[in-house]
């Protein structure tokens, strides 16, 4: 007699029939790039998230071992492509610390100006894309309309809209142009003649005057929006201990209540760039928050970014005021064949998404022995797996979006 166990022998896979495996695949509008999230769900509730990275891995660190730092600058652009200037700045500062290069005042002021303007542009994308993830289209388009003007201004300075390679070892590559045609978006929005010419500083001032008045629109559309609050407040809670343990930095850390900003508390080689500049560091909790908001939730992180835009605008204005009287050149001569000392350096800078760290090991050659880029989004994303457990499927874009990640930086 054939026993039941012989005829019905099944090979059991690790398939749990009470759960559904949903692939929030690499191509997805809400994953901020090519991120694959494998969600194990029971109906609408998520049991576990497994993130798969590496779809945008372009071996930047291996390439960094075969190029001189000046040649590697374009690769840092493409890491966090929404904040290319800040990536360049982090890398350039690390190499300058290794070489012991000190820059003239004008180069420093230009770097602050451009890096903070890029922070505004990057946060506009972060905020707009977050709204888009949650279903609203208008803030996204308004944010991109503003960002268009910033990109036009950057194009006038260095020739590129996204991958600038503007801040390099030794300073910046170009000075601010004295005479530009007004960016078309700015002309349309402020009702000026599209053919008018003005200096870059005047165009930027005109833009900032316009933008400052529009920030309250974003607050009405998103921050104080009843639906937005319902979808973001009280969700994705990160306690301050967890945020520190998971290496979260930037708005994620400050949204959880830890008062740490590298522009004020970081390496002296970096903070001296911001000496003489007056800016506040927004940290949760906020007394003006709606009552549903909890410390460390999505709304807090979003609001930190909104406030950082205001602070960045202040910094740009201060830099523009310092620029005419800043002494020195915008660049010191630096030969590409300069040999790096047999030493190592690790420097972190405050990029819009967090603390981006560059670790260079020199061994006497002009090419670094090891070029490591520690990405802020990489650490910020590592907490998403734990955050998304037990939430509804629809909350996953809200949580991942609030971390404001860029896959280019995560995968390098």
């Amino acid at each position: 007699m054939v026993s039941a166990s012989q005829t019905e022998e099944l090979v059991e896979f690790d398939v749990r029939t009470d759960e559904m495996l949903i692939n929030m695949g690499p191509q997805h509008p809400s994953t901020h790039g090519v991120l694959r999230l494998l969600l194990r769900t029971d109906g609408e509730i998520i049991f576990g998230v497994e993130s798969h990275l590496g779809y945008l891995h372009r071996c930047a660190e291996k390439i960094g071992e075969n190029l001189t730092p000046v040649q590697w600058v374009p690769y840092t652009d493409r890491m966090d492509y929404l904040a290319g200037m800040n990536m360049n700045l982090g890398m350039a500062l690390a190499v300058e610390k290794l070489l012991g290069l000190h820059l003239p005042q004008k180069a420093i002021v230009l770097r602050v100006l451009i890096a903070e303007l890029n922070r505004v542009a990057s946060h506009l994308v972060g905020m707009g894309a977050y709204g888009l993830d949650l279903g609203t289209f208008s803030p996204f388009l308004y944010a991109f309309r503003e960002r268009e003007i910033i990109l036009d201004l950057f194009e006038e300075v260095c020739g590129a809209r996204l991958t600038y390679s503007y801040i390099t070892v030794g300073g910046v590559t170009h000075d601010l142009p004295a005479c530009i045609t007004i960016p078309p978006g700015l002309a349309a929005l402020t009702g000026r003649d599209p053919k008018m010419t003005l200096s870059w500083i005047d165009a930027c001032t005109m833009f900032l005057d316009w933008l400052e008045k529009r920030i309250s629109e974003y607050h009405t559309l998103l921050t104080r929006n009843h639906i937005f609050i319902k979808r973001t407040a009280g969700m994705g809670l990160i306690s301050s201990e967890k945020a520190v343990s998971y290496g979260c930095t930037g708005p994620v850390l400050r949204g959880s209540g830890v008062d740490w900003d590298l522009r004020r508390d970081g390496d002296p080689f970096y903070t001296k760039m911001y000496q003489g500049f007056d800016f506040k560091v927004p940290v949760a909790p906020f007394p003006e928050a709606p009552r549903e908001v909890v410390l460390g939730d999505n709304w807090c992180r979003f609001y930190v970014r909104m406030l950082e835009v205001v602070e960045a605008i202040k910094l740009v204005r201060q830099a523009m005021a310092k620029y005419p009287t800043a002494e020195g050149a915008y660049r010191v001569p630096h030969k590409m064949s300069t040999k790096l000392p047999k030493d190592e350096v690790y420097l972190e800078t405050e990029c819009p998404r967090g603390a981006m760290g560059f670790y260079f090991v020199g061994n006497g050659d002009s090419k670094p022995y090891r070029a490591r880029a520690k990405s802020s989004s990489f650490c910020n994303l590592s907490i998403a797996e734990e955050l998304c457990e037990g939430v509804f499927l629809a909350d996953v874009p809200a949580i991942v979006g609030s971390l404001d990640i860029v896959m280019g930086e995560i995968d390098r």
């Binding site: 990275l53 590496g54 891995h57 071996c59 660190e61 291996k62 610390k97 290794l98 967890k242 520190v244 343990s245 998971y246 290496g247 830890v258 740490w260 508390d265 030493d343 190592e344 350096v345 690790y346 972190e348 603390a355 760290g357 670790y359 090991v361 022995y369 090891r370 490591r372 520690k374 990489f378 650490c379 590592s382 907490i383 995968d411 390098r412």
Partner: protein
């Protein structure tokens, strides 16, 4: 605390496990025996004089002398303290080949000390080829799961074919 004081405290607590230190470098670092690295990191995080709450960076560096073929793999830990505002760098030197799976050198994991080390160690395993003992899920993170070899090694040969298709 200055790096000098941190080094003295570590030597006092761990004695022989602290091999050497280079405190004159731009990034003062302390060499620690790889077997003791998890205990040292736990001490660095929990001791009230140190309180290294934040792990800035964890990466592997492959040192290989091309002429002699002699080398080592170092795992580098950069950490800092938010409450006490000091930083230090710890390094663990490992042989390039060891008795881990696939002949990789082994190093204890610190993912139970800092949660962020989980993904950083996966990346170090993936790119530099260090097996972290005790890691909850040591799989490749950036390269494809079926990838062979560890790209950031100095003797890595780029494959010409991938899964049968010519790629180089």
């Amino acid at each position: 605390m200055t790096p000098q004081q941190i080094h003295e405290l570590l030597v006092e607590t761990f004695k022989d496990s602290i091999e050497s230190a280079n405190l004159e470098s731009l990034e003062p670092h302390i060499q620690v025996k790889s077997a003791a690295i998890a205990d040292v990191c736990r001490f660095l995080k929990s001791d009230h004089r140190l309180q290294m709450t934040h792990l800035n960076n964890l990466c592997g560096v492959d040192y290989l002398d091309p002429k002699t073929g002699v080398g080592r793999v170092e795992v580098v830990y950069h950490m800092q303290s938010y409450p006490l505002r000091h930083r230090i760098c710890i390094k663990a030197a490992l042989p390039r080949l060891g008795d881990g799976p696939n002949g990789l050198p082994t190093c204890p994991t610190v993912s139970n000390v800092w949660d962020v080390a989980n993904w950083h160690e996966r990346e170090a395993f993936d790119l530099v080829g260090v097996h972290f003992e005790g890691h909850p899920k040591l799989t490749r993170i950036l390269c494809d799961e079926g990838w062979e070899g560890h790209p950031l090694r100095k003797d890595y040969i780029f494959p010409t074919h991938y899964q049968g298709v010519r790629a180089n």
